[in-house]
Amino acid sequence: MTARGTFPHRLLPYLLLAPQLAITLVFFYWPAAQALYQSLLREDPFGLKSRFVGLANFRRVLSEPSYLNSLEVTVIFSVATAVSAMAIALLLATMADKIVKGRGLYRTLMIWPYAVAPAIAGMLWLFLFNPTMGTFAYMLRSTGYNWDPLLNGNQAMVLIIAAAAWKQISYNFLFFVAGLQSIPRTLIEAAAIDGAGETKRFWTIVFPLLAPITFFLLVINTTYAFFDTFGIIHAVTGGGPGKATETLVYKVYNDGFVNLQLGSSAAQSVILMIIVIALTAVQFRYVEKRVHYG
């Protein structure tokens, strides 16, 4: 960092920082510390006494079949959501990149689902596919397919993946379009002169050059699928049928806030914290290579 001009005040900078710091301490650090502390305690059934149990809560949580199930659900859900949202967005972005006339209009039409709340995205898809009144459910059933996401776990999973991926397409689209525009035309032209066809040019030049942005989006989409899709699951399936769509975040909410299992919920919170830290670390390692602080 280069030396730069500053103001010689002593008290003022602390006053400027005070509001932000106060909020982070009261609403972030204090509760997070509480979660860490609680995760090492076990309360008696009446919530009167608690005793230190070390890592017992973690051992119990990690050996619980329902926790392992929700871990599996989360992984399947996240991978499917991230991959399908990114694949569709990449296809559309490559097409948009070829279009000169009307590019702006296409972009405008593509971006607005970004503004739809995840929970509402879920409700829109539920409306189309719910077995009693959904038009698509009706069509599926009239072809003889036994569609009922309220009873069939796999179908429920497909439904929330579709809603979650749908909501994320516009976001990925914008980033891929930006990435494609930054690829030097000369490279592609050189390949064309050498006789490489369009498909070959895509896989040997364009796709490798998009790798950094693809990786970045993979991290962002995974984080999205882990944390921001709570609304979709809460509004559409409520974790069911059975526990077929109960992700880790949904389970933390359900065990802690609804079923009031303090120790277990706190241990789950801490595990989630570790996951977020890992994801953020990966994300910023990548960012450091790209962004140059002046």
């Binding site: 932000q20 503004a115 509402i120 009144m133 009706y138 035309r185 909410y253 919170s269």
Partner: protein, 282 residues
């Protein structure tokens, strides 16, 4: 530019159109449903074109006193969401720009420690500290208040990072010149820094307004009474009582009303939105 055959361009347009149809269809169909009668909605498949009940349904949902969730009108829910989204956007921008100002333009003990303190909040989203945060909210009497909906969400590592990054591109000479002319920290902030930050503020505002409007877990935790619900939570409550009596045509209207404000913000402020998105996530 490589010559491109006409047929390839046509294919590109076709794929884009199909893509847009898929992206737009769920919202379009909800709009169609919001213009039908309840009887028509309950008899799938729905028509592809809007029906004739547009004014009737929207009027009934907005002013008719029906379509209420636990006695609360849609207007109240929309107001709650607006207050929350605006409060979060303005609050985040305000406290982040002040923090970044302190960190970049002052030298004081523990400066980097504070910077990291703010930065690490990135790793502590609500989802990983649900219960203890709820307890803090109860202890501070913030359940069912606008303060409770807004205040805990306005700490922002990303906005602080963004402003910090931008401030660091401002040449030191500018500050020196301002000081020579006798400008104090407040003067410099108000007359030089704020005007220079206008585009960043606009870009962040769009992103943060949408962030605030689409919140789900937080309002679910900190509101119990129906008249403090946001429209997204209210809508969820409407469909969760899904039985024969649910007035689906009004649910659809509510759905459209919940989608419209943030979509308008995105479309009307598209330039800022794209900029804000690409910059905040870097």
């Amino acid at each position: 530019m490589i010559g491109q055959s006409r047929s390839r361009t046509v294919v590109a347009h076709l794929v884009m159109i199909v893509g847009i149809l898929i992206v737009a269809f769920p919202i379009y169909y909800t709009f169609v449903a919001s213009t039908l009668t309840l009887r028509e909605i309950l008899r799938p498949p729905l028509p592809l074109l809007p029906g004739g009940e547009f004014f009737h349904n929207y009027y009934a949902a907005l002013f008719g006193g029906i379509g209420r969730i636990g006695g609360v009108g849609v207007d109240r829910l929309l107001i709650n969401s607006t207050i929350m989204a605006l409060g979060i956007a303005v609050g985040k921008i305000a406290i982040s720009i002040l923090s970044a100002y302190a960190i970049v333009f002052f030298r004081f003990p523990l400066r980097m420690f504070f910077f990291w303190t703010i930065f690490i909040t990135l790793m502590l989203p609500v989802e990983v500290r649900i219960l203890p945060t709820y307890k803090v909210m109860v202890d501070l009497n913030l359940i069912d208040t606008y303060t409770g909906l807004i205040l805990p969400l306005i700490a922002s590592a990303t906005a602080t990072l963004l402003f910090r990054q931008f401030f660091m591109t401002i040449p030191a000479e500018l500050l020196e010149a301002a000081r020579v002319d006798g400008a104090g920290p407040w003067r410099f902030f108000k007359d030089i820094l704020l005007p220079l930050s206008r585009t960043n503020i606009a870009a962040l505002f769009v992103i943060l307004f949408i962030y605030g409007w689409t919140q789900y877990l937080w309002p679910l935790l900190v509101t119990n009474s129906n008249d403090m619900n946001t429209i997204v939570i209210g809508l969820r409550k409407m469909i969760s009582f899904a039985d024969a009596d649910t007035e689906w045509h009004l649910v659809m209207v509510t759905c459209m009303l919940a989608i419209l404000p943030p979509v308008l913000v995105v479309v009307l402020m598209q330039r800022w939105f794209v900029r804000g998105l690409v910059e905040t996530e870097k």
